[in-house]
Amino acid sequence: MFTYAAKRVLMTMPIMIGVSLVCFALVHLAPGDPLISVLPPDASQAIKDQLMVLYGFDRPYYEQFLRWLVRAVQGDLGTSIRTGRPVAAEIFKAVGNTLMIATLATFIGFVLGTFFGFVAGYFRGSWLDKLASAAAVFGVSVPHYWLGMILVIVFAVQLGWLPPTGAGPGGSEDWRWNWVHVQHLILPAVTMSVIPMGIIARTVRALVAEILSQEFIAGLRAKGLPELGVFRHVVKNVAPTSLAVMGIQLGYLLGGSILIETVFAWPGTGLLLNDAIFQRDLPLLQGTILVLALFFVALNLVVDVFQSALDPRIQRA
């Protein structure tokens, strides 16, 4: 178990270095002057040069990369060109907000997805299967940003039950655990949950159907185990994979929250990314992408180790 975990951690190191290299390179793909967003068009060459030195853009790429990497390891992701605040602080604030909707969405998606998946897998070929599978196909096919708009139209505009955008009353960004704030959480989280719902439902359906067709199930039934006991065996066999899918989905939602956050003006990492792109704030762009990607890598690692603890056969594979 521990050797396996250690091996997986070691295997992750080169990927993390690769990821940071990609994040760094990405931003330098960007055409145009990196300081374009802060400099007035008529700035003198002297001021330009001064700022280039200040931000370190005058150094060769490899030196910029190494400096950036060493500082990033120490938790310093540079200064946002637009706001002048530390990038790490901006991201830290936003990550909390995104985690909140992503975690809630993954939870809703997991509960609904496993339910639909079990129903479809147990009653394969019946109308119940068709219904549950339709829900799964809906989840993986619907453009979720559009679904978000529809939910806003129905529940905010027509019915007036829930607020259409923002994370708090009057656009405030200070989160508190009370009903006024939780109301803002509902629509984005429900919208986001359709993606993990669809994917988990499909995975669970295939798993349940496969396990039910195995001989040990027939054996258990033949020796007279009540159906509830058989069900317990199925659950135990489905759990490792479906939990793993759930963990990875959380990572996808965290990294891919930009569309939902744009629809709902939710002040998370997605909105931060959106700002960074359109205001050409390179340090912020680099930092946000790096944090989200590294989070995804770390989550994958945790999921792998956790899955192998639940199902020791994986370690031998």
């Binding site: 196909v137 529809i150 891919g256 959106n274 995804f296």
Partner: protein
């Protein structure tokens, strides 16, 4: 272009056993959902191709006096957009860019990813390690994040976002191609070909390709729905198609301002994206079970 008949015709030539593909087609035709979905896909493609003949009005010409008319208005069956342009015509024309951006990146990624995967899987050893570990790095990014980051770095535009989407889909296709090829490489018929003195290129062309392209192709097809949603998402964010081009994702974005006044109107472009992606998904599901490929 119609992907399915192409694949089937090519498959007959490669597999040289018409029996298999006839069976697949027959099994596909027994799945009503898949058949309807395939017909919808063909209909959408026809709509894109014949847009100039189908659209009742000029999709670029707007009348500022007739902005945001609701669906069902006289002369505008689906209403008008925020610049007074006919919605029906724009939705019909929108099929062109939207389908193009949903399909082309997947095929480009199929060409690149399948090549990488087949080479890595067939050659093995260090080549495999280097190629696949590089792919792993791109796998470490959630797909939406990678697409947005690349499109954002390259700058808005159709070409840049198609390039970004292609890069997003190369690693997953390469991974599938690699695992399928690794499975085929040790089969007896490949050993037999080697023993009779066939070179690597000949073996890849004659023995490997025919047996791996089917599963890889079906996997790539299943990515078209994802690509549609991502491409429209990029345009929705303002990173893809630029105005005044009619594109469903961009229309969804520009009509957001009308969410309070004409909610029905601003739901229409998204409905088109949804219909397209669900049709591609159902069609691929049908194809996969007809070809008996495990997901």
């Amino acid at each position: 272009m119609s992907a399915v008949p192409d694949g089937v015709v090519a498959g007959v030539a490669i597999a040289r056993s018409p029996g298999y593909w006839v069976t697949v087609l027959w099994r596909f035709s027994r799945d009503p959902f898949a058949v309807v979905a395939a017909l919808v896909v063909l209909g959408l493609i026809a709509m894109a191709v014949f847009a100039p003949w189908l659209a009742p009005q000029d999709p670029f010409h707007g009348m500022s006096l007739r902005r945001l008319r609701p669906p069902g208005s006289e002369g505008y069956p689906l209403g008008t957009d925020e610049l007074g342009r006919d919605m029906l015509s724009r939705l019909i024309y929108g099929a062109r860019i939207s389908l193009f951006m949903g399909i082309v990146p997947v095929f480009a990624a199929l060409a690149v990813g399948a090549s990488i995967g087949i080479v890595a899987g067939y050659v093995g050893g260090w080549t495999n390690t280097v190629l696949m570990r590089t792919m792993d790095v791109f796998f470490a990014f959630p797909s939406v994040l990678l697409a947005v980051a690349l499109a954002g770095a390259l700058g808005p535009g159709i070409l840049n976002s198609m390039l970004a989407l292609t890069l997003v889909f190369v690693p997953p296709i390469a991974r599938v191609a690699e695992s399928v090829t690794t499975g085929v490489r040790t089969r007896d018929y490949v050993e037999a070909a080697k023993a009779s003195g066939a070179g690597a290129l000949i073996i890849i062309r004659k023995q490997v390709l025919g047996n791996v392209l089917g599963p890889i192709f079906v996997y790539a097809m299943s990515l078209i729905a994802v690509c549609m949603i991502l491409a429209s998402g990029l345009s929705f964010l303002g990173l893809g198609v630029k105005p005044p081009q009619p594109d469903w994702g961009l229309m969804l974005n520009t009509l957001r301002t009308a969410i309070y006044t004409q909610p029905l109107l601003c739901a229409l472009p998204g409905l088109m994206i949804f219909i397209t992606s669900i049709s591609f998904n159902l069609m691929t599901d049908g194809l996969r079970s007809a070809m008996d490929i495990k997901a």
